[in-house]
């Protein structure tokens, strides 16, 4: 993690629920990473990603507006190339299948434990 602390990796948090986004933001900061912003829709997420070029995106599946997390992740990966960890409330096969179309850096299911988040972020950044 030394390399990361010298040059803090930036993380974008995307979730349409403020309390969830804020909780994730604080947890990420506690891991000594920088959060470049929180977005509630796919378009906002893409705009923030293009502005800050985060290394990692924590992506909710259900977002405000018509586009979902996979739409946002595909756009961000195409434009910026960020790694994406999906954080979804759904454990349905259809949702998971759609997520895996996107070759995610990780998939977490809500509610996410501190440990799960820490491990997923560490392995995504190391990869």
């Amino acid at each position: 993690m030394n390399a990361l602390t010298l040059n803090k990796s930036t993380v974008l948090v995307v979730d349409d629920e403020f309390l969830i986004a804020e909780g994730l933001r604080l947890q990420v900061e506690d891991m000594d990473l920088a959060v470049c912003g929180t977005a509630t829709s796919a378009d906002e997420a893409l705009a923030l990603a293009m502005m800050h070029r985060p290394e990692l995106v924590l992506m909710d599946m259900r977002l405000r507006g018509d586009k979902d997390g996979v739409d946002a992740a595909l756009a961000i990966q195409a434009e910026v190339g960020s790694k994406v960890i999906f954080i979804t409330g759904s454990r349905e096969q259809s949702t998971i299948a759609r997520i895996y179309e996107d070759h995610p850096a990780g998939v977490l299911f809500k509610p996410v434990s501190d440990h799960q988040l820490r491990m997923a972020i560490a392995s995504a950044l190391e990869a």
Partner: protein, 383 residues
């Protein structure tokens, strides 16, 4: 259909009949059964061999046919008891049989002038025939109203289509129910994540390490609740799931998240389908017990924690959480810590909720909690 020749066709026979009727001494029985003075029918045919053979042969064939046809009708009616107005068929059976008999009698009267008996048989035939004829007309509209095979086929198709639609509707209702349940679980999980967010935010405001630990403990309990809903959501019936992988995931999350890596965990559980009502208290119990071991058993960092769910001899379930740590004999201060007090309150309360019992032993090198509860009704019968 009726082919009857009368003795009166010949002049000799007429004379004989008149002679017989003229005899006033003759009783009714004699009149009917005594052919004395009558001439056989063959006489009217002048015993012409061709005519006699023609009549006799035809009557044999008709008579046999009229015996065979009603037998076939009767057999058919017996084979198909569902046929409506079957009694009409028996009337047909009766009058055709009677009619056949008249033809056989006609053969006899070629040579024997048994016209009385022949007449009686004709009378019976007449009564049966006219009864059938009379009953047939009023029956006609009813029989005509019976649905045809094509009509029945159409009705069956109609019903089948209706049933298929009902099945489709029920499938849709079930799918809707599944969708709603998934949505509910999704919302529960989302809300738990929001509560977790609130706790993280609150924790940031705390400077007291004990307070932060307490909030951390709450987050673990919320994760246990969320994990139950995750299992439910990915189960096929959305109601029950196998408790074994759940306990594994729950325990390893606590141990991996709370220890520096020196604590080894073993989880052993029988496969058992459980529902929400059973899984939540069980999951929270495992959470409390494993967390206790993790926090208090290994001040030096290393050790082993074992979680085991098995079936006792009497069919009850046995949950054992054990560690090989320092034990808590001679450690009076522990129960005084508010966090520990909360943990033991939760454990006692949940064991009582599950109508189970708990036994705890603790000494240096072994702390063991054994909980016995009745198996949930949703579980499969143990082999």
């Amino acid at each position: 259909m009726f082919f009857c020749l009368h003795a009166g066709d010949g002049s000799g026979a007429v004379d004989a009949t008149v002679a017989a009727r003229g005899n006033v001494d003759m009783s009714l029985l004699d009149w009917l059964l005594n052919p004395t003075g009558l001439t056989p029918h063959g006489f009217c045919l002048s015993w012409a061999p061709g005519l006699v053979a023609l009549h006799a042969g035809s009557d044999v064939v008709i008579g046999l046919a009229y015996l065979s046809i009603p037998l076939a009708i009767a057999a058919f009616i017996r084979m198909r008891p569902d046929i409506k107005y079957g009694w009409v068929a028996y009337l047909f059976v009766a009058f055709i049989l009677a009619c056949g008999t008249t033809h056989l009698m006609a053969i006899l009267t070629l040579w024997v002038p048994a016209y009385g008996i022949e007449g009686l048989i004709k009378l019976v035939t007449a009564i049966l025939s006219i009864a059938t004829a009379a009953l047939l007309w009023p029956l006609l509209p009813k029989i005509a109203a019976l649905p045809s095979a094509a009509e029945l086929e159409r009705r069956v198709e109609e019903r089948t289509a209706e049933l298929a639609q009902v099945v489709e509707e029920q499938k849709a209702t079930l799918a809707q129910r599944d969708l709603l349940l998934r949505e509910v679980y999704h919302r529960v999980k989302n809300n738990l994540q929001m509560v977790d967010g609130l706790l993280v935010m609150q924790s940031r405001q705390m400077t007291d390490p004990d307070a932060r630990k307490a909030l951390r403990g709450l987050r673990d309990r919320i994760f246990a609740l969320g994990l139950v809903h995750q299992q439910l959501m990915s189960s096929s019936d959305l109601k029950t799931f196998d408790v074994a992988p759940f306990l594994g995931e729950l325990s390893s999350n606590i141990v991996d998240g709370g220890a520096g890596g020196g604590v080894a965990l073993s989880v052993e559980a029988i496969p058992l389908d459980v529902g929400l009502d059973f899984a939540i208290p069980l999951g929270l119990l495992v959470n409390e017990l494993v967390t206790n071991s993790l926090k208090h058993a290994f001040p030096d960092g290393g050790g082993e924690i074992a979680v085991k769910l098995s079936r006792a001899g009497d069919g009850e379930l046995l949950l054992v959480v054990a560690d090989n740590g320092k034990g808590y004999e001679g450690e009076p201060s522990r129960s005084g810590v508010s966090n520990v007090a909360l943990g033991s309150t939760i454990i006692k309360g949940l064991v009582a909720q599950m109508q189970g019992t708990i036994m705890v032993e603790s000494k240096l090198g072994l702390t063991r909690s054994e909980i016995r509860v009745a198996a949930p009704l949703t579980g499969p019968v143990a082999a």
